[in-house]
Amino acid sequence: MATYITNEAIAAGQRLDALAPSHAAGAVVSFTGYVRDHNLGEAVSTLYLEHYPGMTERALAALEIDAYARWPLLAVDIIHRVGELTLGDVIVFVAVASAHRQAAFEAASYLMDQLKTHIPLWKRECHTASTTPVWLIPH
């Protein structure tokens, strides 16, 4: 029902409950991504998320349309946090509602794949063992 970028904490549970939009939806699949305390063997203390204002919103809106075109979805939620985050904060919340469960699982997984590689967002980590922040590089 929404696609946006935010500096504020994301209330994943509230979003989940708000998603089932009609009695036609049998299945809601959600993904919630949290700031983890480790990454690639390094202990993480904080995470900074940079984005490209304007393009990010356009890319998310296009991604939502793309998902509706690929699966028979009844609702889509894509919310991405930016700015300074700390351990346990929600980075991203994605949820989709569909009449059927397979479409919902596939679409949620697809949206996460696309978010990782096609939306202008960049993560910079602070490690507890170092004072120099590190920009993440995809494999």
Partner: protein
């Protein structure tokens, strides 16, 4: 041609530039990148072979042609999600 250049993440930090209006004869994003690399040390970060780019806020390839007034963004591979 007037180009609105934007840099993000590691490129922004290394060059100290997040946003700059450039007047250049470059006809493609690739040529614009060469112009920037010639500025020296801080700009060599743009030699990154995984450099990505967008023209007017849409992902594109480095050989995309430029038009006057284009917004061109250069950035490392995205790491959202």
């Amino acid at each position: 041609m007037n180009i609105e250049l934007r840099l993000f993440a590691r490129y922004r930090e290394a060059t100290g530039v997040d946003h700059e209006r450039i007047c250049s004869a470059a006809e493609t994003i690739s040529e614009l990148r060469e112009v920037l690399l010639a500025r020296g040390d801080h700009w060599l970060v743009l030699a990154d072979e995984r450099l990505c780019c967008a023209r007017n806020q849409t992902l594109c390839s480095l050989d995309s042609a430029l038009c006057d007034g284009d917004e061109v963004a250069l950035f490392p591979p995205m790491t959202g999600g």
